[in-house]
């Protein structure tokens, strides 16, 4: 305590000079803000890597025939795009937001386990290298290339694949360890380090969202790690987990994969679903509507999310009973999601809204994710599902779920907290350009994919019948517009870091929460003396 009093400041400190300069600072840092920044930089870098890969795919799909890439390379590109976007971009960015913001939002000085935090991050870059190295080696003519089975890694294709698959398995192990460490840290921090008086039901929704994400990750990642280890055993040690000839079953892999894969959807959604109510409330200048209902909906989504996985497998030939169960239980997810949508809309309803960039992205998420969710109802129908499944309708559907949540939601959160991180307000004109170019590009990319899917175009094909040409041309054009929009984002963030209008402690007029009570930019250590919550 004496130490704290010596500062004479309620927040902030004089430790700034303690850390080492240069690269060592970043390697050895245990500061939640440093680690958060590294997660964010890593995540958005991977967004560009995964995005560049899919733009090559869209270029190839611009017209029928094989023009730029051969099928072997095409399969690597779509596989890496999926794995990178989910494990390399979306999860690290969410973890970065949590690292930077959680301690500030719950009035803690740092994460509970700072060294674990450092380790959790530094596992990521080697994992990303492990995942992509075979790809670059393959391009240079060394080895068979990267994993090429689709991100679903279906056995026995993944048993047959080249050693890029082994690299992917080890990368998944490392990514899994990283996200489990991050999740443990979040849970421990939230349960132990809240400011005095902040009961669980007074905690910011962002913390609730991320708590559920962490619980889900700890439930599913070990299962997935076990699953890929079984693939590794089948590949090299003569086991037959997924080989019928030895008493195994290829469909077992699908169950293991989707037991991870479906909750993963909510792993990506819940941090965003937790962050955006703060944005809605801030720019509508109105309190969050239905706080408790939203918290319980997060729990319901996490709970239901764990028992619906086989709706990804309606064509695999399950029994009638299983199909009926997975169809009806999948429909049940529409209830907690409807509660969330209702609360979000009720939050802005009769507010005093203004449409700054974070709000635009949050509203874009609301509308586009709404369509993603509604088309999910179509896919839940076990009899109609085979017509959508593994066709472009499915691709369009899950991009309407993923892009608005993982990308637009993350960008809404980044734009919202950017003044707190940099001390500068962002450039609104650039922000609005970014938003509109992204929304237009996104819809031009994915609306045609609904139609081309209904017409019968399967996914993951490098070449297609001529009747699908027009829609694919439009879709590819949209993809490049969408890709370009992200350059505006990077430029805008860069400009905001470099300078801009000074941001006050409370950068947005309607913003509420502990993070807006500290200076902008936030001091290196926040809340050494915990604030008291009434």
């Amino acid at each position: 305590m004496a130490h704290d009093m010596a500062h004479g400041l309620p927040v902030g400190d004089s430790h700034d000079g303690h850390y080492k300069g240069g690269f060592l600072r970043w390697l050895e840092t245990t500061n939640h803000k440093d680690i958060g920044i590294m997660y964010l930089i890593f995540g958005f870098t991977m967004l560009f890597v995964g995005g560049a890969m899919i733009l090559v795919v869209r270029l190839e799909l611009f017209q029928p025939g094989l023009q730029f890439v051969q099928p072997e390379l095409f399969n690597q590109l779509i596989t890496l795009h999926g794995l990178i976007m989910v494990f390399g971009f979306a999860m690290p960015v969410a973890t970065g937001l949590a690292n930077y913001m959680l301690p500030m939002m719950i009035g803690a000085p740092d994460m509970a386990l700072p060294r674990l935090n450092n380790w959790g991050f530094w596992i990521l870059p080697p994992a990303a290298i492990m995942l992509t190295l075979p790809f670059f080696l393959g391009i240079m003519g060394v080895g068979p290339g990267a994993v090429d089975t689709g991100w679903t890694l279906y056995a026995p294709l993944s048993i047959q694949s080249g050693w890029g698959m082994d690299f992917a398995i080890f990368a998944i192990h490392m990514l899994g360890v990283s996200s489990i460490l991050g999740s443990i840290n979040v849970i421990v921090t939230i349960l132990n380090m809240r400011a005095p008086g902040m009961t669980l039901m007074k905690m910011p929704l962002f913390a609730h969202g991320f708590l559920m994400t962490a619980v889900l990750l700890i439930t599913i990642m070990p299962v997935f790690a076990g699953g890929v280890t079984m693939v590794l055993m089948d590949r090299h040690f003569g086991t037959h987990f997924f080989n019928a000839a030895g008493g195994g079953d290829p469909v077992l892999w699908q169950h293991i994969f989707w037991f991870m894969g479906h909750p993963e959807v909510y792993v990506l959604l819940l941090p965003i679903a937790g962050a955006l109510p703060h944005v809605f409330s801030a720019f509508a200048r109105k309190p969050i509507y239905g706080y408790k209902a939203q918290v319980y909906s997060f729990w319901a989504i996490a709970g239901l999310g764990l028992v619906v996985w086989a709706h990804h497998m309606f064509t695999s030939g399950m029994s009638l009973g299983s199909q009926i169960y997975f169809m009806y239980i999948t429909m049940a997810i529409s209830f907690p999601l409807a509660v969330l949508f209702f609360c979000w809309i009720a939050t802005i309803w009769q507010g005093s809204m203004s449409f700054e960039t974070p709000m635009l992205f949050a509203l874009g998420f609301l509308v586009l994710f709404g369509w993603g969710g509604l088309t999910g109802l179509a896919l839940s129908d076990a009899a109609a599902d085979p017509q959508y499944h593994n066709a472009y309708f499915l691709v369009a559907h899950f991009h309407y779920a993923f892009y608005p949540s993982a990308v637009m939601g993350a960008m809404a959160a980044v734009y919202y907290w950017l003044p707190k991180w940099t001390g500068h307000m962002l450039n609104e004109t650039l922000g609005k350009w970014h938003f509109w170019v992204a929304v237009v590009g996104f819809n031009i990319t994915f609306i045609p994919q609904f139609f081309v899917g209904l017409a019968g175009m399967p996914r993951r094909i490098p070449d297609y019948p001529v009747m699908f040409t027009e829609w694919n041309m439009i879709s590819s054009t949209g993809a490049f517009i969408l890709g370009a929009s992200h350059l505006i984002f990077v430029y805008n963030v860069y400009k905001t870091i470099k300078g801009g209008e000074k941001a006050g402690d409370k950068a947005w007029e309607g913003a509420e929460g502990l993070e807006w009570t500290v200076p902008s930019p936030a001091p290196y250590h926040t809340f050494e003396t915990p604030p008291v919550i009434k």
Partner: protein, 286 residues
């Protein structure tokens, strides 16, 4: 802001009219089996309902954006939850509407459709075994002893060298499957290597071909014609190049075709296809 909205609207109008003019496909191909008809019906029903829900909510949002604006001088309300009985009704009513839509409007027809989809055991007049293989389909008529393979017949230079593409580019095979019209056919799928998936959009059926296991589905094609589809489970390098082509013909033509196939069938059934499991075991042992 306003000009941006107009810009966006303009883009949609241009795109929409261009699409309508070029005769783009917006829905499933014409259904030719009971399952496909049922599926199209379900699809249309779901689409209409979710489009209505989407635009109702979007409309409410747009109203809110225009009215509840700081720029328009609107003063924010302060509520953070339902306050009285009437508001509770407002809050709970969407729940009941949604439950009705999920489990009655969608749930009941979907239940019947799934039961119909899985009705593979009754009244089948013909059994066809479909075996996926990297990268071709093999068709067997077990009762007739007829077996043949069906692989892509599109010339390589159309794919790689930019030669003019034919009408059925990537959707043409050397030996199409021939089926009689109006007969309930029980399909049995399996695979020799990895998982494939047999799909003909006009039939409304898609079923995985899983190595070492048998899966089944059925179709009664009600109209003669040639129907095309593709493998729809990533199965390796040539996944995009293993189409399905089915000629549906009258019973007489089918009988004739089957007889000609039988005559041509010197016992050329590839052993690998008949006994995938044994073969795999042998391969493993070697």
């Amino acid at each position: 802001m306003r000009s941006m909205y107009k810009f966006g609207l303009g883009i949609w109008l241009v795109l929409g009219s261009a699409a309508a003019l070029a005769g783009y496909a917006f829905n499933f191909p014409e259904p030719v089996t009971p399952i496909a008809r049922e599926t199209l019906h379900m699809h249309n029903l779901v689409m209409v309902v979710i489009l209505i829900m989407f635009f109702l909510v979007l409309g409410a949002l747009i109203y809110s954006f225009r009215t509840h604006r700081k720029g328009a001088g609107y003063k924010a309300a302060a509520y953070s939850g339902p306050g009285n009985r009437k508001q509770w009704l407002w809050v709970l009513s969407p729940f009941f509407v949604l439950a009705f839509i999920d489990y009655v409007v969608f749930g009941i027809p979907a239940y019947h459709a799934v039961v119909m989809y899985e009705d593979t055991k009754t009244d089948a007049e013909l059994v066809v075994k479909v075996t996926g293989s990297q990268w071709l389909w093999q068709y067997d008529f077990p009762a007739e002893g007829v077996s043949f393979t069906s692989r892509l017949s599109t010339p390589r230079d159309q794919i790689d060298a930019g030669a003019a593409k034919g009408e059925h580019y990537l959707l043409e095979v050397d030996n199409p499957l021939v089926l009689p019209v109006g007969k309930k056919i029980r399909f049995i799928t399996t695979s020799n290597d990895v998982i494939h998936s047999w799909w003909v959009p006009a039939f409304g059926v898609k079923r995985d071909a899983v190595p070492g296991f048998l899966r089944e589905f059925w179709a009664t094609v009600e109209k003669t014609g040639t129907y095309r589809g593709q493998c729809s489970e990533l199965c390796g390098k040539e996944h995009g190049f293993m189409p399905v082509v089915v000629n549906v013909v009258s019973q007489e033509e089918f009988t004739k075709w089957l007889a000609s196939k039988k005559a041509a069938a010197t016992p050329a059934v590839p052993t690998a296809a008949v006994e995938p499991v044994t073969q795999a075991v042998v391969a493993k042992a070697q």
